[in-house]
């Protein structure tokens, strides 16, 4: 009796991970009830993320370090590589971009057109920028400027804006806030060609504008004067560095990835042990489940790429 009990325990524990040769069933951790428990676990974990984000805004969020200087340099670098001219930074467009980002946080949306029907052009016109051509690119939850610009270039519709030869000027806003309960960094990129041409900033002005972004000027008198435009006083952009307590993007993807790997390992054990001990189970095919999960694993790795664009 004293010998059989430890053996029995060992036998039971082992079959949490490998199939049972007599019962012809999968390992306990791959049983139907276990899979059902995993489903509930996923709902609970990700549901609690939503609950925490609503109860303690700012605890969960998307960490980022994006600067307008880098965004401008990288955008122009892509244009130069395609034989196009550099875009000049324009304060009115940057103000319009900032207003757009603030509106998205205020109204709780992430779209080119607001729920109340406000279009990107409305923000541009409100800054008295009389455009011939205009365009807008959006991005959120990226970690670096390079990732943002690369994502835009990888998308044909966004690339069309970046590579559009009709545009002469550009404006950026990198604004932090809470969107849908999550600490979020929104990037708005606005393109334009002024009808009057009076908004053209010189290279020297560009540096001033970008310096002003870094020092976060607080002047809110945003009515631009086309003749004598106080460029460096018109841009107010919050600190683009966001460090929430938990980076939700990394956390959620890491949890997903670890979980898929866990199931994959259990299935591999199931296939190996069944073959080794010639266990024929009256269940679905482990190889099929494994293939499906391996594809999912690739998808999860792909989703590790940060951010979204619009």
């Amino acid at each position: 009796m004293s010998k059989t009990l430890p053996n029995h325990k060992e036998y039971s524990f082992k079959h949490h991970f490998v199939p049972h040769p007599h019962h012809k069933t999968r390992a306990t951790l791959l049983s139907h009830s276990a899979i059902f428990t995993y489903l509930l676990g996923i709902v609970l974990i990700f549901g609690s993320f939503r609950l925490i984000s609503k109860t303690f805004p700012g605890v969960l969020g998307y960490a980022s370090d994006i600067t307008t200087q880098d965004l401008l340099n990288l955008t122009n670098q892509k244009r130069l590589e395609s034989g196009l001219t550099e875009l000049r930074i324009n304060s009115a467009l940057s103000s319009a971009a900032k207003r757009k980002a603030e509106d998205m946080f205020k109204e709780g949306y992430w779209s080119h057109i607001s729920p109340s029907g406000t279009e990107p052009w409305d923000f541009i016109l409100r800054e008295n920028y009389d455009y011939v051509y205009a365009g807008e690119n959006l991005a959120k939850n990226f970690n670096t400027s390079k990732d943002v610009v690369q994502a835009w270039v990888n998308s044909s519709s966004h690339k069309e804006n970046i590579m559009n030869k009709n545009y002469e000027e550009i404006g950026f806003a990198v604004v932090n806030g809470v969107l849908d309960g999550y600490e979020t960094t929104l990037v708005v990129q606005m393109f334009g060609k002024s009808r009057t041409g009076s908004y053209v900033a010189s290279a020297k002005d560009e540096n001033k504008i970008l310096e002003s972004v870094a020092t976060v000027l607080e002047d809110t008198g945003l009515v631009p004067d086309p003749k004598n435009e106080p460029i460096q006083k018109q841009i107010v952009i919050e600190n683009p560095v966001v460090q929430p307590t938990v980076d939700i993007a990394t956390a959620s993807k890491a949890i997903g990835l670890v979980f898929v790997i866990y199931i994959v390992v259990l299935l591999l054990l199931d296939i190996w042990y069944s073959k080794r001990h010639s266990i024929f189970k009256l269940t679905g095919h482990s190889l099929a489940h494994l293939s499906f999960l391996m594809i999912t694993l690739v998808g999860m790795l792909l989703m590790m790429m940060p951010g979204k664009i619009l």
Binding site: F49, A151, I248, S252, K253, G256, L282, A288
Partner: protein, 85 residues
């Protein structure tokens, strides 16, 4: 056609379907909504493949159907949870 050849044919259909969906998943990697639709289609395709495959093998029963539904739901819920955050 031998049992092994049938098996290979069935698995080829699974691999082909999932590969096509994976290619679209990569193409739409910046479009969350499209990715969610593709994940749903992938899960549905997998469940249907499992049912048809086991029916053709004359090994279909309620528990097997339930197993494929569980795996399909597991993958979809996982992708949905990660993408919707």
């Amino acid at each position: 056609m031998t049992e092994q050849e049938k098996h290979i044919l069935h698995y080829s259909f699974l691999a082909l379907g999932l590969s096509v969906l994976s290619v679209f998943f990569v193409l739409f990697r910046f479009d969350t909504r499209a990715q969610l639709i593709l994940a749903a289609l992938g899960s549905l395709y997998y469940v249907l493949w499992g049912i048809i495959h086991h029916a053709l093998e004359k090994r279909l029963n309620r528990l097997t159907i339930f197993e494929y539904i569980l795996f399909g739901a597991l993958v979809f819920l996982l992708i949905f949870s990660v993408l919707s955050l």
